[in-house]
C-alpha cells in the first residue's frame, strides 16, 4: 500500500503541474468526445500531455500507448481527478467500447494497428450496429458483406450512428451468411470512414440537435485483417462490446448537458419559500425519493465495481446497471424541467428569455429519453435479466 500512496502523491503533483487551469473550471470537459483534429488551445494541450503520459487510457498496457496502471492505481487516479475537478482528457466509445473489446478479443496485429490511434487521441471511432429494421431486435441486421478473398465488400445502411460526422473509423456488425439462424451469420469488421462508398445523412432529433447520422454503404471495402473474431461469429464479439457500452450509458448525470444546478438546488430556487425551504410536501417527497434512489444506485455501481476488482465477473449485472441507471437519469431530467415550470420548456435558440441552465435542462430532458432506448432498450435489459440472471425459461 505504501506504493499506492507514493503513486497518489506523484499523480497529484503531475496533475497540478500539467492540467491547464481552464480545464478545471465548469465546462472544462466539454470537448472530451473530440480527437486532436477538433481541438485547440488548452483542450488540445491537455490531450497532448495526457497522450504523452499514457493517461488517455491509464489502465491499458504501455506497449499500446496506455499508462500501464494497475486497477487500484487507475481507481485512485480517477478519484484524484474527480476531487481536483479535472475532466478526463478523452471520452467516448473509442475508450469505453472498441478499445476494451480489442484488448480482450483482438489479435496482436489488430491491437498494434488500432490501439495507438486511440491512446494518442488521433482516431475517432463510431459504432455501426442499429439499422432501420434492426433496433431492439439487433440480430435482424441486413447490411451485407460479400467475401472477396482478402477483403469484404459491404452494402447497406446503419442508423443512430453517434458522432459519425467526426469519425475516422467504424466498428460494424455485418451479415456474412443470410441462410442460417440470424445470430449465426453475423461478422464484426472494422473499416475507415474515408472509404469513397461511405455517405452520411444527419438525423435531427426532438431536442433540435443532430448528434446522430444514418450512414449508407455503397461497395465499401473492409480488409480481412480487420475482422475481429471469426467469420460468422461476430454476434459474440458484438454482445461483449455491448456489455462495455452498458456500463458507460447507465451513469451520466446532468454535467454533460452543461447544467450547473442540482435538482435540490433548482427546487429551492424555483419553488422555495422566502427562506429557501420547499413548502410543497409532495415535491419534497419526490426529491427525497429521487435522492435516495440516486444514492442507492451509486452504492450499487460501487459495489459491483468492488466485486469485479475482487475477481467476480460482472457479466449480466451490466444490464441491471444500464436499466436502472438510464431510467433514473431520465426521471431526474424530467423532474428538472417540471420544477422549472414554463422556464424549463423554452426553445434552444431563445437565449434572450431562457438561461443556460434552463436550455440545458430542456435539452437534457429530451435527450435522456434516448437513454432507455439506445444500447438495448429497458425492455430488452429486463429480458436479459430474466433469462440470463434469473434463468427464467423461454416460451
Amino acid at each position: 500500500m505504501a506504493n499506492l500512496e507514493t503513486f497518489k502523491s506523484e499523480a497529484t503533483a503531475w496533475l497540478e503541474e500539467n492540467c491547464p487551469a481552464s480545464m478545471r473550471k465548469h465546462g472544462g470537459g466539454a470537448d472530451a468526445e473530440f480527437t486532436r483534429k477538433k481541438r485547440s488551445g488548452d483542450s488540445l494541450l491537455w490531450l497532448d500531455r495526457c497522450a504523452e503520459k499514457g493517461w488517455i487510457a491509464p489502465s491499458w498496457p504501455t506497449e499500446y500507448g496506455g499508462g500501464g496502471l494497475s486497477t487500484e492505481e487507475h481507481v485512485a487516479l480517477v478519484g484524484i481527478m474527480k476531487k481536483m475537478n479535472i475532466p478526463a482528457p478523452l471520452g467516448g466509445m473509442s475508450l469505453t467500447m472498441i478499445g476494451p473489446t480489442l484488448l480482450e478479443l483482438g489479435t496482436e496485429e489488430q491491437k498494434k494497428e488500432h490501439l495507438p490511434g486511440i491512446t494518442s487521441g488521433n482516431v475517432h471511432w463510431c459504432q455501426g450496429y442499429s439499422e432501420p429494421n434492426a433496433g431492439s431486435d439487433l440480430a435482424n441486421l441486413q447490411t451485407k458483406a460479400e467475401d472477396k478473398g482478402d477483403h469484404f465488400i459491404i452494402n447497406g445502411s446503419k442508423i443512430w450512428t453517434s458522432g459519425a460526422m467526426h469519425a475516422d473509423w467504424m466498428f460494424c456488425l455485418v451479415r456474412t451468411d443470410p441462410n442460417v439462424q440470424k445470430q449465426k451469420g453475423i461478422s464484426f469488421v472494422l473499416f475507415p470512414m474515408t472509404d469513397p462508398g461511405v455517405s452520411l445523412s444527419p438525423i435531427k432529433l426532438i431536442s433540435g440537435q443532430s448528434p446522430f447520422c444514418q450512414v449508407f454503404f455503397d461497395n465499401v471495402r473492409a480488409e480481412k485483417s480487420n475482422l475481429i473474431g471469426k467469420v460468422n461469429e461476430g454476434w459474440t464479439v458484438g454482445k461483449r462490446l455491448l456489455q462495455h457500452e452498458r456500463s458507460s450509458i447507465g451513469g451520466g448525470g446532468s454535467s454533460r448537458f452543461g447544467i450547473s444546478m442540482t435538482l435540490n438546488d433548482a427546487a429551492k430556487k424555483y419553488r422555495g419559500d422566502e427562506n429557501g425551504k420547499i413548502d410543497d410536501p409532495l415535491l419534497k417527497l419526490e426529491l427525497t425519493r429521487q435522492d435516495i434512489d440516486t444514492q442507492a444506485f451509486a452504492l450499487t455501481t460501487k459495489r459491483i465495481t468492488d466485486e469485479t476488482m475482487s475477481g467476480v465477473t460482472p457479466g449480466f449485472a451490466t444490464s441491471m446497471l444500464k436499466y436502472y441507471g438510464s431510467e433514473l437519469t431520465k426521471d431526474s431530467a424530467e423532474m428538472m424541467v417540471s420544477i422549472m415550470g414554463p422556464q424549463g420548456l423554452g426553445r434552444d435558440d431563445d437565449r434572450d428569455n431562457f438561461s443556460d441552465d434552463e436550455r440545458g435542462s430542456t435539452r437534457a430532458w429530451l435527450f435522456t429519453k434516448a437513454l432507455t432506448i439506445a444500447g438495448g432498450c429497458s425492455e430488452v435489459q429486463l429480458d436479459i435479466i430474466s433469462k440470463r440472471i434469473l434463468e427464467l425459461p423461454t416460451g
Binding site: 434512489d293 442507492a296 450499487t300 459495489r303 476488482m309 435479466i385 434469473l390 427464467l392
Partner: protein, 381 residues
C-alpha cells in the same frame, strides 16, 4: 472501503447460512406459533446462538465479546432473516448491546455486557408509544424524588419484553412532548413493582408487548447516559438498530424472491410454464434490480457503523437503508404471494410468513414514511 465482505466475514456468512437452514428453518417458527411458546422463540436455539459466540459479536473483547463488528453481525442477521429465525438477537444483541455500549458507564458495561454475551441477560428497548415511530414525542415521564426516579406511562410494541430480564426505557424527565431535549434512558428490571407486561400475539408469530409503568421506582444509578440529554445517544442506538433490522429484512426479502422465482419456473398453467410469460419476467427482473440496490444500502450501512459514522450522518445513512429495504421487502413479499397465486394464500405454504414478517419489521423503528421524511429533513429540503 470496498463494499464487499472480507474472507472472515464470508466464512461467517456460510456458517450462519448452514446453522439457520439446519437448526432454525421456517418450520421451527410455525411450530413455535402452533405450540404457543411464551417467549415466541426456542430457548434451545438461542442457547446454540450464544454458544456460537454470536450474542457478543459486536461487544468489545474486554467485556467478553468477539469485537468482530457490524458487518459480521449483519451477515448473521441476514441469514437469520432468510429462515425467519426467531430469537432475541435483535432486541438484546443489537439494541440492548448498542444502548449499553453507547450510553452506559464503565460500571454498567462491565456488569451487564458479559452477562449479555453469555446469554444470561435478555434486554428490550421500550420506546414506542403509538402507531408512528416518534421518539421526540415521548410522553412517558420519569420524575426525580431523592435518589430515585418514578416512571409513569405506557410503552407499546416492545419487542421480546415477555422474556426480558431488563428493559431500556425511553422517558421524559423534562420538556414538552415533541422536543428532543429532556429525554432520559433508564435500565428497569422487568420484575420491578408497578411494571405490568401484556404479551401480544403478532401476525409474524413473534413477540411484542405493551408495558405499563405505574409509579415504578428506579434508583438514579440506573440512568443510562445523561439525565435530560439522551437524544444524541438514542439517535445513534436507533440508527444502528435501523441498519441491523434492515440486514434481517434483506435476508427475508432475498429468500421470498428466490422462492418465488423457483415457483414460477415449475408451475404450469395454460399448458406452459408460468415463468415464460413476459408479464411475470419483467416484474421479476425489476424486483431483482430493487433487491440489488437493497443489498448495496445494507452493506454500506453496516460498514458506516463499523467505520465510526455517528450523529446526523449515521441517521441519514440509516434512513436511506431502512426506507430502501422497507419498500423492497413490502414489494417482494406482496409479489411473492401474488405470483404463488392461490397456494400463496394458504397457511400450509410458507410464503405467507414472509408477507407477515415484512409488515412487522416495516414498523420496527420507523416505517418508510418516517425514514423518507427524516431523510428529506436531513437533506435540508
Amino acid at each position: 472501503m470496498p463494499l464487499i465482505l472480507n474472507d472472515d466475514q464470508k466464512l461467517l456468512k456460510d456458517s450462519a447460512k448452514d446453522f439457520f437452514s439446519k437448526s432454525m428453518p421456517v418450520k421451527q417458527l410455525r411450530q413455535i406459533r402452533d405450540d404457543e411458546v411464551t417467549e415466541c422463540y426456542s430457548t434451545d436455539s438461542w442457547k446454540e446462538i450464544v454458544d456460537l459466540g454470536w450474542s457478543g459479536i459486536t461487544v468489545e473483547e474486554e467485556f467478553g465479546g468477539l469485537e468482530f463488528g457490524y458487518l459480521g453481525l449483519g451477515v448473521i442477521l441476514e441469514e437469520g432473516g432468510r429462515t425467519l429465525a426467531a430469537s432475541p438477537l435483535f432486541s438484546t444483541c443489537v439494541l440492548g448491546a448498542a444502548a449499553l455500549s453507547i450510553a452506559g458507564n464503565q460500571e454498567q458495561k462491565s456488569e451487564l455486557l458479559p452477562l449479555l454475551v453469555q446469554g444470561d441477560l435478555i434486554l428490550s428497548l421500550a420506546i414506542e408509544e403509538g402507531a408512528a415511530h416518534a421518539p421526540q414525542r415521548t410522553r412517558t415521564t420519569a420524575s426525580k424524588s431523592g435518589d430515585s426516579f418514578t416512571i409513569n406511562g405506557t410503552k407499546t410494541f416492545v419487542l421480546d419484553a415477555s422474556s426480558a430480564d431488563k428493559m431500556i426505557v425511553v422517558t421524559r424527565t423534562s420538556g414538552e412532548a415533541g422536543s428532543n431535549a429532556g429525554l432520559t434512558l433508564f435500565l428497569v428490571d422487568s420484575n420491578s413493582k408497578g411494571v405490568s407486561i401484556t404479551s401480544h400475539k403478532m401476525a409474524d408469530s413473534r413477540n411484542a408487548c405493551t408495558v405499563v409503568f405505574d409509579n415504578v421506582s428506579v434508583p438514579a444509578a440506573n440512568v443510562l447516559g445523561q439525565v435530560d440529554n439522551a437524544a444524541d445517544d438514542l439517535q445513534d442506538i436507533l440508527s444502528i438498530g435501523q441498519i441491523c433490522i434492515s440486514a434481517d429484512m434483506l435476508g427475508s426479502t432475498r429468500e421470498a424472491f428466490e422462492r418465488t422465482v423457483e415457483y414460477i419456473k415449475m408451475r404450469e398453467q395454460f399448458d406452459t410454464i408460468l415463468g415464460t410469460k413476459q408479464a411475470l419476467q419483467h416484474r421479476a427482473a425489476q424486483l431483482y434490480t430493487e433487491i440489488e440496490l437493497a443489498k448495496s444500502v445494507v452493506i454500506a450501512g453496516l460498514q458506516a457503523i463499523d467505520e465510526g459514522q455517528r450523529g446526523d450522518a449515521l441517521a441519514k445513512t440509516a434512513s436511506l437503508t431502512k426506507s430502501k429495504v422497507g419498500e423492497t421487502f413490502t414489494l417482494a413479499s406482496s409479489e411473492a404471494v401474488q405470483m404463488h397465486g392461490g397456494i400463496g394464500m394458504t397457511d400450509e405454504e410458507e410464503i405467507g410468513f414472509f408477507l407477515k414478517r415484512a409488515r412487522t419489521t416495516e414498523h420496527t423503528l420507523g416505517d418508510v414514511r418516517y425514514h423518507q421524511n427524516r431523510y428529506g429533513d436531513l437533506l435540508g429540503l
